[in-house]
Subunit: 410 residues, 2 copies
C-alpha cells in the first residue's frame, strides 16, 4: 500500500510545515554551510559545568521520582520557582495559573487546540513566527495578518482587520503576538502600544497569546528591561495567555517552557496535555529547576545579552560594509534576528537558491507571512554562528545577491 | 473574567481526562497511601549509576548539539539504533519509517490527529488504556468497543461491530490495540489471533495502531518471547502503526518513545510533531541512545522480568490468601497489572471510596471501558510498590471489600 491519503483527517491533509524546521534540516546536511537560518542559541554558552554537576547530583537514585512519571502540570518546585521568575517580570501569578509545557511551542499548540474552533479567525503579526503559524493552522484556524510598524503592531490596522472580519461574520478569538524582539522582525512593541492593546482586547473581547522567548535578551545599548514589560503584567481582566521558555536563556534541548493563563484555562490545558505527552521530561524539569535555584540562569543572562549584542554588531557591521546599498534593515534591540528587505527585483526564494550555491542558508521572509506577501524579505539569525562565520556568511550573502541575473536587480 | 467557556473549541469543551492521571494526583498527595493505581515502573531498578555516568559523559560541552534544538524526527543515531532494536523484535523497518515521540502517548496523539476526522469510528478493546481513549476522543473520534476473551480480542465481535458501524454509514478508520500484556487486563493476544487480525484488517481496510509498551516484560514461567511477536512483524501491506517506548524498560522520565509507520505517514507525523513540540528532549534521547548502545537496556531486561514476575506472584499469593472467595482475576503473563472482577453487588467507584479510607488507591475498571460498563472491575498495578507494600495493599483492599454495607455484597 503506497497511498495513505484516503486515511488522513482534515488536519492530516492540510498539515502546515514550519519553514524554519525545513531549513534546519538543510543545515544538518550541510558541510561548509554558514547558517543564518534557525534561531538557535549559541551552544558555547550553555553552562556545561553547572549542568553536568547538577545532573550528577540528581541521578544518585536517592529520589526515584527523578526519572519517574510526574504530574502533567509540572514539577511542583519548578512551578513554585516560576512564580518567582514571573514576579521579577512584574507578573503576579498564582501557582494554579502556571503549567509547564514541552517548549513554548507546546504552549501555542495547547492554546490552539483548546481555544480555536475550525474556521475561527486568529490575528497574527505580518510577519510572524512560523511555528506559531503552523500550530494555529493545524488547529484549523483562519489566520489573518495585521501590519507591523517599527514600534510593533499597527493598532489602527488591528482594529480595521477586526472590524472587517466581524462584518464578514467571523469570530475573532485570539491575537498571537511576540511583543519583545519579535520573530522575525526583531521589533519591540512600545509601552504605549502595550497599554492600548490591552484596552483594545477588552473592548473587542479578544484573548491575547503573548509569546515571550526573547524578553530577557535585550541589548543594553538600545533597550532597557522596563521596555520589555510583558502585556500579562498589566492584564487585569485575564485576557492574556503568557508563554515563555528556558530554550534561549539556558538550553533548548531540555524542552522546558511554561504558560501562564487564567486557572480555569490552565485546567483545560492540563487535561489536553495529558493526552498529548502525559508530562514533560522529568529529569529536564529538575535540571532546569536546579539551574534556576542555584542562580545559574540569572548569572548567565548578562553574558548572553553581551554576546548576542556583540554578534548583532558584527552582523550589522558586515552588512554595512558589503550590502549597505542593496539591503535595508532595522537594527534589532534584542533577540536573535536581523530582518532585511531585498533589492528591488530580487525574491527570497531565488536568492535562497543562489545562497545555497554559495554555502549560506537563511529563512525566506515569505514563510513568515500569512497573506502570501514578503517575498522581498529574508531573516538572518546571528545567534548561533561565531563572529567569524557571521562575517563569512554576510560575504556569501553579498556574493549571492550580486550573482542575480542581469536586469533582475535594481 | 471568570467564565472562559465561550472561548473554548469543541475539543476544549469536551476534553477527556485520563482516570489514571487523576489517580496519580491522589497518590502524589497521599501520606501512608498504598498505590496500585498508575502503571509506574519500579524506580529502584532504574540503572542510576549507568545513567549518571552517561549524563556526565554527554554534558562535557564537547558536542554543543547535546543541548541544542534537534531534528523533529529524532536523534539520528537513536533512530539507527531503534532499527536494530526493532529487528530483534522481528520488525524490519527502514529508518524513514521511524519517528521518536515524546513518550508513546505522543504517538497515539499524532496518529489520532493525522488520521481521525471528527466522527470517524475508532475501534478499541473493552477495556483499554485510558490514555489511548483520551487521545482518540480529543481528536473527536467516536470510540466503539470490541469484547476481549482470555486470549485477547474477540475477532467475531470485531467483525460484527465493524459491520454494524458500516451499516450505520460510519467510517471505521482505526483499531487501537495492545496485544502484549494488555492494559488493563494483562491479556496476551494469541499468535493465531494475530495472524487472523492482520487478514481481517486487510479485508476490511482498517489501519491498526499497535501499542506495545510491555512486550519485553513477559513472565518466563508462563510466556515466551515468541508469543509477544508484534503484529507489525507480519504486516506485509503497511497497515500497522507500531508504538513502543523506553518508559517501562529504562525510565519514563526521559519521555522517549517511538512510532514505526509507513514512510508516507511518518512524513505527516513529523510535520504534525513540528507544531506540537518541535522536537523531543535532546539530552534525553542521547542518554537513552547511549544506554542502549552500552547494553544497559538489554542487561536490565531479565532483571525487570524477574522482579515484576516476583511482584505479580506476591500480589496473587496475597489475593489468594485474603480474597480468593471475593475477587476473580486472570493471572497475567507479563506487564504490570492484575485485572480483577468484584463480588456481585460491589461497584468500582464505591469500593474506591472505601479503599481511600483504608489508605489504598487503584484505578476503577469502568474508566477503561468506552461503553459505560465495567463497574464491577478494578485494575491493580503491582509494578511500583515493594513486595511488603503489595501485601499491605491487598490487606487494605480486603478490608475495604469487607466493609461494604450489609446486603450489598454477595
Amino acid at each position: 500500500m503506497n497511498n495513505y491519503d484516503k486515511y488522513l483527517s482534515p488536519i492530516g491533509r492540510q498539515l502546515q510545515e514550519s519553514a524554519i524546521r525545513r531549513m534546519g534540516t538543510v543545515v544538518a546536511r550541510g558541510t561548509d554551510l554558514v547558517s543564518f537560518a534557525p534561531g538557535y542559541p549559541d551552544a558555547a554558552l550553555f553552562p556545561w559545568d553547572d549542568l553536568r554537576e547538577i545532573a550528577a547530583s540528581l541521578l544518585t537514585g536517592a529520589d526515584g521520582n527523578t526519572l519517574q512519571y510526574g504530574p502533567t502540570r509540572g514539577y511542583q518546585p519548578l512551578l513554585e520557582t516560576l512564580v518567582e521568575v514571573l514576579r521579577a517580570r512584574d507578573i503576579r501569578a498564582t501557582i494554579d495559573e502556571v503549567i509547564i509545557t514541552s517548549g513554548s511551542q507546546q504552549g501555542i499548540d495547547l492554546a490552539a487546540r483548546v481555544l480555536v474552533s475550525p474556521g475561527d479567525v486568529v490575528l497574527v503579526e505580518l510577519p510572524t513566527f512560523t511555528g506559531g503559524i503552523a500550530a494555529l493552522k493545524n488547529a484549523q484556524a483562519e489566520l489573518v495578518g495585521v501590519k507591523q510598524q517599527p514600534d510593533g503592531l499597527d493598532l489602527d490596522d488591528l482594529d480595521e482587520v477586526w472590524q472587517r472580519q466581524r462584518r464578514a461574520g467571523k469570530t475573532v478569538k485570539l491575537l498571537y503576538i511576540i511583543p519583545n524582539f519579535q520573530n522575525p522582525t526583531g521589533s519591540l512593541l512600545s509601552l504605549e502600544k502595550r497599554r492600548r492593546l490591552l484596552e483594545w482586547a477588552d473592548r473587542r473581547d479578544v484573548l491575547i497569546v503573548e509569546d515571550d522567548p526573547y524578553g530577557s535578551l535585550y541589548f543594553d545599548d538600545v533597550a532597557t528591561p522596563a521596555e520589555t514589560r510583558p502585556l500579562r503584567a498589566d492584564d487585569v481582566n485575564g485576557r492574556v495567555l503568557y508563554l515563555s521558555t528556558f530554550s534561549k536563556t539556558l538550553a533548548p534541548g531540555f524542552r522546558v517552557g511554561w504558560m501562564v493563563a487564567p486557572a480555569a484555562l490552565v485546567e483545560r490545558f492540563d487535561t489536553a496535555k495529558q493526552s498529548t505527552d502525559l508530562t514533560s521530561g522529568i529529569l529536564d524539569q529538575r535540571i532546569v529547576h536546579e539551574a534556576v535555584r542555584r542562580g545559574v540562569v540569572d548569572r548567565l543572562a548578562p553574558t548572553l545579552r553581551a554576546l548576542y549584542r556583540h554578534k548583532r554588531e558584527v552582523m550589522e557591521r558586515a552588512l554595512r560594509e558589503s550590502l549597505i546599498d542593496r539591503l535595508t534593515w532595522a537594527s534589532p534591540k534584542g533577540g536573535f534576528f536581523v530582518w532585511a528587505t531585498l533589492p528591488t527585483g530580487q525574491t527570497d526564494t531565488e536568492l535562497l537558491e543562489r545562497a545555497l550555491d554559495h554555502g549560506l542558508v537563511f529563512v525566506i521572509g515569505s514563510a513568515f507571512f500569512v497573506d502570501g506577501s514578503g517575498h522581498d524579505t529574508i531573516r538572518l539569525s546571528f545567534s548561533a554562528p561565531s563572529p567569524d562565520r557571521i562575517v563569512e556568511g554576510v560575504n556569501r550573502l553579498a556574493a549571492a545577491i550580486a550573482a542575480a541575473p542581469v536586469g533582475r536587480t535594481s
